[in-house]
């Protein structure tokens, strides 16, 4: 167990339910999370799994029903209006915002800089999100991906210790996504703790030190992307084409099988060795709980 001083975020037994006309819906059903200072932590899960509710409780937007929450040593649910010191150390990139439309990129970034005790230089933040060319363009005129990068700029302008990113790369083209990943990595290199919710498994795999999978308000597993769901121990699949027919076999030691095939066939047609992707593992994890609930 980590000592609490190394933890940026410590959540124990978190619960939250909503009462609607249809009845009471449990959104978060007993979540424990320990996020270390300086790591990139991804939260994965299907829509409605409780990701956003959890993160919004950590961000101080929502109250909880039960559990202990500590973010940078403070309880976000108990800060009330006197939370400016704490807010100064938190950066938030929300899912979709459509404000500041009548301002230019520079005007909005330099204005938000005035809210913080220790802001970064607006020009260099604009450069780091790749919007230098759009510096004097109205926010209204930006493309979806450019807007998202502005959201990130507004999230990091205050030099946060923790940055929350909710679905940050929705609407990005592959090139922009790679540039964005580099930006996030450089923030980690400067010591920022990053909490990321995402639908994109390649993004979690590329960025995250650890991932948590949430379904139905519970954590299924917390692990590195490489070991999630026993992925590193899963059997590899060796496939090849023999006499025009595709053959498969599963093996814990695929190299041995490949050598055997090579000895037997000489030239092995369309040889492929695959391990389950993060996506395969993830889908089987959320699939299992759905079957479990149906019983």
């Amino acid at each position: 167990m980590q000592s609490s001083s190394e933890l940026a975020i410590d959540v124990r037994g978190l619960r939250k339910s909503y009462t609607t006309k249809a009845g009471t819906k449990v959104a978060v059903d007993g979540i424990d999370l320990q996020i270390k200072a300086g790591e990139i932590f991804a939260i994965l899960g299907p829509n409605g799994a409780g990701k956003t509710t959890t993160v919004e409780i950590l961000e101080g937007y929502r109250n909880r029903d039960a559990g202990d929450v500590s973010v940078l040593g403070q309880d976000p649910g108990k800060l009330g209006h006197d939370n400016r010191e704490w807010r100064n150390r938190i950066g938030i990139v929300l899912q979709s915002t459509n404000d500041v439309a009548d301002l230019t990129v520079y005007e909005s970034v330099s204005h938000f800089a005035k809210y913080y005790a220790n802001p970064k230089n607006p020009e260099s933040v604009i450069e780091s999100v790749g919007l230098t060319e759009k510096r004097d363009a109205k926010v209204l005129s930006l493309s979806g991906g450019q807007r998202r990068r502005l959201d990130v700029a507004l999230g990091i302008i205050g030099t946060p210790d923790i940055l929350f990113l909710d679905e940050p790369t929705t609407g990005f083209d592959p090139e922009a996504r790679r540039v964005f990943w580099d930006l996030i990595r450089s923030l980690r290199a400067s010591g920022t703790t990053i909490v990321l919710t995402t639908h994109y498994l390649d993004e979690a795999e590329a960025l995250a030190d650890r991932v948590a999978v949430i379904t139905d308000g519970r954590i299924v597993e917390v692990a590195t992307p490489q070991t999630l769901g026993g992925r590193h121990q899963a059997l590899a699949v060796v496939s090849w084409v023999e006499n025009g027919v595709t053959q498969h076999l599963e093996s814990a030691d695929p190299a041995v099988e490949v050598v055997k095939l090579s000895q037997r066939l000489g030239h092995v047609e369309e040889l492929l060795v695959t391990r389950p992707s993060l996506e395969d593992i993830y889908l089987s994890m959320i699939g299992q709980t759905e079957i479990g609930d149906a019983r």
């Binding site: 100064n88 809210y115 913080y116 220790n118």
Partner: protein, 263 residues
């Protein structure tokens, strides 16, 4: 590291709010020039005197100055804030160290600036085209000054308070505008107040606009006209008290009910 002061951030918000306001041209034209437009229409239609030495335009300017404060403060805020809420602007601000008080200071600055501009062009247009008589004594100007200040604070806090009522930005205008228009009719902006049925006068007396228009009449109309008021006097202390009470109610209501997001 110390956070920047609440006042300093509030002033920065005021600057950026004014910038954003001026860039929405339709809304600039509508809010700033609408009262002048109404003055031209009403002033051209009703050319008669409503009392010896009191033209309709003179009466109407008093009413329009009062309702201008309600338009730019109450109406504009009660419509704009739900729209900002829909756009996620308020939620984003809530996630920064900016104090809510700075946000309210910023709103007051943009509202005050547009009120001053609106009142100025109304008076200039009235003077140039409709022979408006300006207040002739210092104490009338002083009264005008505190009525504008108290009226705009009252209107601003009530606008912020009322912004929690419309559920969506799109519906806000439909909820807010009829209330303002009905109050304008009942409070003696478009009609001479003493000509309204007494139940209407009593109902209007519950709301601040009636008192603000009465106060503005005391600034722009001759003292002989005070005899036409329901109490046969301008009731200046009562105006100050009622506007003050509404300001307190509005402040308490605003601080309790303000919503940063629709959830």
């Amino acid at each position: 590291m110390k956070n920047p002061s609440i006042l300093k951030v509030g002033i920065a918000r005021g600057g950026i709010e004014i910038k954003m306001f001026l860039r929405q041209r339709e809304s600039v034209v509508f809010t700033l020039f609408f009262p002048v437009l109404l003055l031209f229409i009403f002033g051209s239609v009703f050319k008669n005197n409503i009392a010896p030495g009191v033209s309709f335009s003179q009466y109407f300017v008093a009413g329009m100055v009062a309702s201008g404060l309600v338009n730019t403060g109450f109406q504009q805020l009660a419509i704009m804030i739900p729209i900002e809420r829909d756009f996620g602007a308020l939620k984003r601000l809530r996630g920064t160290p900016m104090s809510p008080i700075s946000y309210f200071i910023g709103k007051s600055i943009v509202v005050t600036a547009s009120m001053l501009f609106q009142v100025a062009i109304l008076i200039v247009a009235g003077r140039l085209f409709f022979g408006l008589h300006l207040p002739s004594t210092a104490d009338r100007w002083i009264r005008f000054g505190w009525l504008v200040i108290l009226g705009s604070i009252c209107s601003t806090v009530l606008g912020i308070a009322f912004s929690s009522i419309p559920k969506t930005g799109r519906g806000a205008s439909a909820v807010v505008s009829p209330i303002v228009i009905v109050l304008q009719f009942l409070s003696g902006v478009f009609f001479v107040f003493s000509s309204l049925p007494s139940w209407m006068q009593q109902f209007a007396a519950l709301f601040p606009l009636k008192w603000l228009t009465q106060g503005m009449r005391s600034v722009f109309l001759p003292n002989t006209f005070a005899m036409k008021e329901p109490a046969h006097s301008w009731e200046i202390p009562k105006i100050a008290i009622i506007l003050g009470v509404w300001t307190v109610i509005g402040t308490l209501w605003a601080t309790r009910s303000f919503k940063w997001s629709d959830k």
